[in-house]
């Protein structure tokens, strides 16, 4: 009895707060049938939003993967002064409001920003254009890869890499042949989490985008436009695409955690 009660309460909490919203996304998307949802996604503005989202993710994710791996390498395999400060800076974007993550780029590159006049003089547009969206996305997804691979690299220690170095391997050979095979799955999870966040980011991108339909609207921004335009079913059709991707991410993460027997806690 005393064990069934907490379990029942937990099931109720998860059902109401998590399962019900998840079901709602797909139910609302299919309210007018699958054909309607498919047609809504085939609208020119919707297609443009999907294309832009994929473009932004395909720029931001590789950049942050390279940066995250470099950070993980020097933070886990070496001891140096100021290590904690670098760690704090890497984690910082996680505690910063998405709106502030967009705001900082407007302050730098916006019309009244520090570099706004210089950019305008050279006819370079960053804010209200694709470069700004990329910058905001990079800022927001910055910590994911480093956070996911670092616990594993820390736990593995340095002995294997040191042995490789003694035997004459250079940096690339050591990293490619010794470190990478061990962290490959965690890296995959980190890249996936980074991609999911890059595709789903709303606040930061909303501030720098300018909301020009078909031009600077990503999928989440297009959801907002459709929803505010009372095209609820079309909005939910696009939301269902992102929701589906989120579910895949969760499933892969769960499968990897089960396989590796560790926690890949990079999700927040």
């Amino acid at each position: 009895m005393s064990r069934a009660l907490p379990l029942a309460a937990a099931v109720v909490i998860v059902s109401v707060l998590f399962l019900l919203p998840l079901g709602t996304v797909f139910a609302e998307a299919l309210r007018h049938g699958l054909a309607f949802a498919r047609d809504a996604l085939a609208e020119p503005d919707a297609l443009a939003a999907i294309r832009l989202t994929l473009l932004v993710a395909s720029i931001a994710v590789p950049l942050n993967t390279a940066g995250g791996l470099a950070a993980a390498w020097c933070l886990t395999k070496f001891d140096f002064a100021g290590k904690r400060a670098v760690l704090v800076l890497i984690e910082l974007p996680l505690t910063i409001s998405p709106v502030i993550s967009g705001l900082v780029w407007v302050l730098l590159f916006g019309a009244n920003g520090w570099l706004g006049h210089a950019l305008a003089a050279h006819d370079v547009q960053i804010i209200f254009a694709v470069p700004g969206i990329v910058l905001a996305t990079v800022f927001v997804t910055f910590p994911f890869v480093a956070r996911t691979v670092m616990p594993l690299m820390q736990a593995q220690g340095r002995a294997q890499e040191e042995a490789a170095a003694m035997l004459g391997a250079g940096f690339l050979a050591t990293f490619w042949r010794v470190t990478l095979p061990d962290i490959a799955w965690a890296l995959l999870a980190g890249v996936l989490l980074c991609t999911a966040r890059a595709m789903g980011e709303f606040g930061a991108v909303s501030v720098v985008s300018g909301h020009i339909p078909g031009v600077t609207e990503t999928m989440p921004l297009h959801i907002e436009t459709l929803y505010n335009d009372y095209q609820s079913a079309a909005a939910f059709a696009m939301a269902a695409c992102l929701g589906l991707f989120a579910l895949v991410t969760l499933a892969v993460k769960a499968a990897l955690e089960w396989r590796l027997g560790i926690n890949l806690d990079g999700a927040r």
């Binding site: 005393s2 907490p6 937990a10 909490i13 707060l17 998590f18 919203p21 709602t24 996304v25 609302e28 470099a70 390498w73 395999k77 070496f78 001891d79 002064a81 670098v86 800076l89 910082l92 505690t95 910063i96 409001s97 998405p98 709106v99 502030i100 705001l103 900082v104 407007v106 302050l107 730098l108 916006g110 019309a111 009244n112 920003g113 800022f139 340095r158 040191e162 170095a165 250079g170 050591t174 999911a196 789903g200 980011e201 709303f202 909303s206 501030v207 989440p220 959801i223 907002e224 929803y227 609820s232 992102l242 929701g243 989120a246 991410t249 993460k253 769960a254 089960w258 999700a267 927040r268």
Partner: protein, 273 residues
């Protein structure tokens, strides 16, 4: 003192340069620009900007709702963590994965979905409206959205601590005659207190800045249900960059101070053991 300990491994220089360059470009320079822009008003100007009734109301709403939501999420998240760690039941893995949903689901998707569910005609909103509780387009809606995003922080922070707390301690307390609530209050809670503090801080910091999952359900009435991040967006649209930066700095300073204070208390609790 040497800058770094001797190491046989290659690649420190390039990796560190890349890291520092990347962190500098993406994090340090933009945040410096934020601080400088706010300070360009001078200390008195910053205070005057934050003391405007509309700004003050938005900050109070954001910090208040974030704190309340984190406080509500604490017992709910703790219960979920306890069930996930202590009980074995079919579907445990599924429950475990679902807890991460607010992390994985894009905020805009969560926003329109919660609005749909809790709206006047929604699956949950309609019965609640029937008994006179209006959720969507009121501050209560903000609270619902923030509890939704706060719960995973509590579950994921307390879970590892619970796992390291052997069930035998709870059983021992029970055999010695403690009632279930005594076991919880005297045995489980003290061990979890540091983790709970940290999870409160993380949930709070997230809640203060949360935007996408809130703006759809909030109603966004100035002075009533307008959150601070939304006011930043409004200020930017008015090209009041300094005003926007002031609100941003106040939000950041507030959440980092609370996060820092809670982490300090956590360290002391853990040191006392």
């Amino acid at each position: 003192m040497r800058f770094r300990a001797r190491s046989a491994l290659p690649g420190f220089g390039p990796a560190l340069s890349l890291t520092l360059g990347w962190v500098g470009l993406i994090v340090v320079i933009p945040l410096t620009a934020l601080a400088l822009r706010a300070l360009s008003l001078g200390p008195a100007g910053v205070m005057a900007s934050l003391a405007q009734p509309r700004v003050f109301a938005a900050l109070r709403l954001s910090f208040g709702c974030a704190g309340l939501a984190a406080a509500i999420a604490l017992p709910l998240g703790l219960l979920l963590a306890w069930v996930l760690v202590r009980q074995h039941f079919p579907g445990r893995r599924l429950l475990d994965s679902l807890v991460d949903l607010p992390f994985a689901l894009p905020t805009a998707v969560a926003g329109i979905t919660l609005t749909d569910l809790f709206g006047p005609n929604g699956l949950l909103g309609a019965p609640l409206a029937h008994v006179g509780i209006k959720v969507a387009y009121t501050p209560l809606g903000i609270l619902v959205a923030l509890v939704f995003v706060s719960i995973p922080f509590v579950v994921r922070t307390t879970e590892p601590v619970l796992r390291n707390l052997p069930p035998e301690t709870e059983e021992a307390a029970a055999t010695l005659g403690a009632a279930p609530w005594q076991v919880f209050w005297r045995v489980v809670l003290p061990a979890l207190a540091p983790a709970l503090l940290v999870s409160f801080g993380l949930a709070f910091a997230r809640g203060v800045g949360e935007y996408g999952s809130v703006i759809f359900i909030a109603g966004n009435m100035p002075m009533v249900s307008e959150i601070a991040p939304l006011l930043i967006v409004t200020r930017l649209q008015e090209f009041d960059y300094a005003g926007a930066a002031c609100i941003g700095v106040a939000m950041l300073a507030g959440s980092l101070m609370i996060l820092g204070a809670l982490t300090a208390v956590q360290r002391r609790l853990e040191a006392r053991g």
